[in-house]
Amino acid sequence: MRAVDALMECLKAEGVEVVFGLPGGANLPTYDAFYDAGIRHILVRHEAGGGHAAEGYAKATGRVGVALATSGPGATNLVTPICDAMMDSVPVVFLTGQVRTELLGTDGFQEADTIGITMPIVKHSFLIQHPLEIPRSIHEAFHIARTGRPGPVVVDIPQDLSRGDIPYEPTTEVRLPGYQPTTEGNQKQIRLAAKALANARRPVLYVGGGVISSDASAELVELATSDRFPVTSTVMGLGAFPAPHEQWLGMLGMHGTRAANYAMDEADLICAIGARFDDRITGKLDEFAPRAKFIHIDVDPAEISKNVPAHIPIVGDAGNIMPRLSAEYRALSPQPGRLEEWWSRIRAWQQRHPLRYDDSLDHEIKPQYMIEALYEATAGDAIVASDVGQHQMWAAQYFHFARPRQWINSGGLGTMGFGLPAAMGAKVGCPDRTVVCIAGDGSVQMNSQELATCVQEGIGIKVFVMNNGYLGMVRQWQELFWDRRYSHVEMGRWPDFVKLAEAYGATGLRFEDKRTLVSDMKQALAMEGPVLVDVRVTREENTFPMIPAGQPARNMVG
């Protein structure tokens, strides 16, 4: 059997239902196998779009995404999605073609050292050196991508090896003696954590994307409601805890709510679950949560005590640990009502400092209102993929995510151009759901070519471009921290997004009136096929509140 046909069998055995890719010289054999393999292949217009689509698919479904590219430029175009998947722990297998083995190292046509280039940004990678290695490497790649802390795995296959004639025996065996993720969680540590929670007067549950990766939302709710623990989350963890909720403080960090950030600042115990104390959360590290002791639950031991020393580390899968923690906690019968004082302090912050903005009194659309209108128009039920910038933070603040895997964004790497292809991948994975993309006029231009893919494949995503004619977040920083010297952030009024959408064969719309925005959005959402809406918003609005970078939480402004 041709090695590429064995590759197809392996993909099927792994349950792959769709691959996002673009052919070229070095993966021609693989594409010949795709011709009648019976696996859906979606032809993207740029490999980066394919990589982000595979991420969106993985984030929306929880399954491993697959992206495919040729050697050289095809592979280098995947570098951004690979790094993005690494930063946000997204399970994606990237299959790249490579030049023939006799050309390796000779600067052959379309040769790039894909393994070398991607080495620092992969969970693992395989350079195939013999056709017989292909089947097992594929299974190992999927195993590594989906288990432990999920992440990207690259498999680089030289063109001649993919043409090898190999005896193929179905196998799913993996041999990875150096890879044994700890998932269990130490019972003694869990008991210690339960005791610490029972003794805490001002506890906070600080939740990250790990809870979503481990499909542990129900377990989180159970833990949080085993008492009245206040819950906050990172931008990656939104949807893990159902918002709005009586115990929900909103997002924390640079653009989080004051209630969440002040609660972290005054907490005596912080229980971090699948979160990694990123600088966007901690602000100035040595003044972060100065009164708190830390429980840190994470499947990746390298995250424990990386930035903030953990008093009670628990290495393991959040979904495995939280039920045991809840049970241990209840068994202690902690003193009821001891959190009342803490809650009255939190409620006071919530009342004094709700998220707010000055709404317009006329037709003008404030960007925050645009998010609120979309929340209303979708009844809060859509899958929302976001690009990166001000619109992303407003979406995180004003769209209340009630379910895990409902919110798909690029948190760690902050990749502009992520949103539209990620929405496309999410829609492919969840065809029966409404999938919207909230984009900026800057970021949407970085992968708008995938509209052609959406039209060709009938992928009915609804893209709402928050158009202020600026690279808005950079403009905001220049305004606040660089004396309003607006250096190269003005985007002007180009392109005409309606014409752009129409040129791709999609529906293009423009909304400029706040008074009809909700009903206009409902109409756009009801349309067949992909729709791109140019929503004209206030040009110079700032994302507030904000912890200026490198400062402690109590210095929030706005």
Binding site: G116, M119, W477
Partner: protein, 185 residues
């Protein structure tokens, strides 16, 4: 969106101080790895990214042909050694890492010294060799090559003594190490 959000000019001194922090505590890491392509690159790349300077590095086979042992010595740096060993453990091809305690470890290095030596100084050099149990492995009319094994410090000491005679060049392997006693490294 860099940090901090100020336009403050940073002096070169401040920037350099932030980049170079050595704790002065030497570590010997013994890393057991699978014999797979790119393993060494993955490991050294990880050290470079996390701001660790590798002082010496030695790679060789083990009693099991599927595995190699990498021994490297380094000085603690910006991040704790604990953080780097955790990151190393995440590499799929890494099986085992030991941060070896100096008192419980046998560490040895091999070095070759080429020294310019005429008749007059030879006897003196030979004497030094005898004390250090070093061997002359090549003898020419105007130079000799000496082979010596020992700890890092012993070889340093030897170098200090022979340098005045005219050290032409020197090659060192970097230390390899094994745990004392019956337990595995």
């Amino acid at each position: 969106m860099g940090e901090p959000a100020t336009k403050e000019l940073l002096s070169l001194d401040e920037l350099e101080a932030a980049g170079q922090l050595r704790t002065g505590r030497k570590h010997i890491l013994s890393i057991l790895v699978e014999n797979k392509p790119g393993v060494l690159t993955r490991i050294t790349g990880l050290f470079a990214r996390r701001g660790f300077n590798i002082d010496t590095l030695a790679v060789g086979p083990t009693d099991d042909e599927r595995f190699s042992r990498i021994t490297l010595t380094l000085d603690g740096a910006k991040h704790s050694i604990d953080q780097v060993t955790k990151q190393l453990h995440k590499l799929v091809n890494v099986l085992k890492i030991r941060d070896l305690e100096p008192e419980e470890t046998l560490a040895r290095e091999l070095a070759l010294f080429k020294i310019s030596a005429d008749g007059a100084s030879r006897a003196e050099i030979m004497q030094i060799c005898e004390v250090f149990r070093a061997k002359v492995v090549d003898l020419g009319r105007r130079s000799l090559v000496i082979e010596i094994t020992g700890t890092y410090d012993k070889i340093e000491a030897f170098e200090r003594l022979v340098r005045p005679f005219g050290l032409v060049e020197m090659a060192r392997t970097g230390e390899i190490a094994i745990a004392r006693g019956r337990g595995e490294t």
